[in-house]
Amino acid sequence: MKWDLLFRYRMRPGMLAWLLHRISGLALVGYIVIHVYGLRALTDREQFNALIAGYHHPVFRILEIFLLAAVTYHALNGLRIVLIDFLGWSPKQKRLFWTLSGAAVLIIGLGAYPILRMFL
């Protein structure tokens, strides 16, 4: 892979959409590992409560916003790819990208608001 090209080649919405999809996808794979690891504690009540209590730490709250962002973007852009590949919406791909990105920002904002409010 010529990594430098990813940043030196002219960034158009299509490549940006794909890069964000890749990055959010990899982040979600990382999250799944942590998530499943956490679930192992389910067998023990004490241990599980301790784990969940730990997740209330502000750092995890902030990370939760990132998780929401990754899931939202990945899902909506996934929908965009489905529309392109299954329904042939390729000519509308840019408008789709901006529309769905707008929707993603809205959803992330709505979800992040109650979390951020706790810090005020």
């Binding site: 892979m1 010529k2 090209l5 990813l6 030196r8 080649y9 002219r10 158009r12 919405p13 299509g14 490549m15 959409a17 794909w18 790819i81 392109i84 590949d85 299954f86 042939g88 390729s90 000519p91 791909q93």
Partner: protein, 232 residues
């Protein structure tokens, strides 16, 4: 107006690594990048090397990377680029000299999809006819001039030099969806693979790069659907 042209130069016979060379060229906003290259070659530095033939967007020989994006030098105007223009060879192909790249791998991929009509029926007295409706399906795809701008713009090509790439897949589409062609099965066998259709992640760099404004991704998607439905 005066434009500054930065060109990535490399002569494998004498240079260890590519280097940038800057030229100041008098230009008209309606000049094409090819005119700038010609000016440099004819008036400033005769050793500058690039391919061009038709100079009118027909032969496909002068695809290069202009201001970070693959384009045809003879089809892009100075007024659309601004006073600072950067020119490099097409990405990830071996450089023969300056802006001339070795297109062998590109044409191998083209040949791999059997870019000719496959039809075993005895030829009719006149040509094999096609209805306007059937032709409309493939018309855009027939406009490809094989410049290579699309295939070399694709991150999948950057990651895997053996990925068939948009130009070859577009050609496969052009014949699979040609009402006169009978080679669908053998062509699908080639493109329905990890280094074919399924390495297209709908990134759209090819569509942005194509000087003939072909919606390459649209036709690759149609071919994907064809490859999947052919299994059932």
């Amino acid at each position: 107006m005066q434009v500054t042209v930065k060109i990535k130069r490399f002569n494998p016979e004498t240079d260890e690594a590519p280097h940038w060379e800057t030229y100041h060229v008098p230009a008209d906003p309606m000049d094409r990048v090819l005119d700038l290259l010609n000016y440099i070659k004819w008036h400033i530095d005769g050793t500058l090397t690039y391919r061009r033939s038709c100079a009118h967007g027909v032969c496909g020989s002068d695809a290069m990377r202009i201001n970070g994006e693959n384009k045809l030098a003879c089809s892009v105007l100075v007024k659309d680029l601004g006073p600072e223009i950067t020119i490099e060879p097409l990405p990830v192909l071996p450089v023969i000299k300056d802006l001339v790249v070795d297109m062998t791998s590109f044409f191998r991929k083209y040949e791999a999809v059997k870019p000719w009509l496959i039809n075993d029926d005895p030829p009719p007295e006149r040509e094999r006819l096609q209805s306007p409706r059937d032709h409309a399906l493939i018309e855009e795809a027939t406009k490809c001039i094989l410049c290579g701008a699309c295939t070399q713009s694709c991150p999948s090509t950057w990651a895997d030099p053996d990925y068939l790439g948009p130009a070859a897949l577009l050609k496969a589409y052009r014949f699979v969806f040609d009402s006169r062609d009978q080679g669908t099965e053998e062509r699908l066998r080639i493109v329905d693979s990890n280094q074919g259709l399924w390495k297209c992640y709908t990134i759209f760099n090819c569509v942005e790069a194509c000087p003939k404004e072909i919606d390459v991704t649209r036709w690759i998607s149609a071919l994907k659907r064809r490859a999947v439905t052919a299994r059932y």
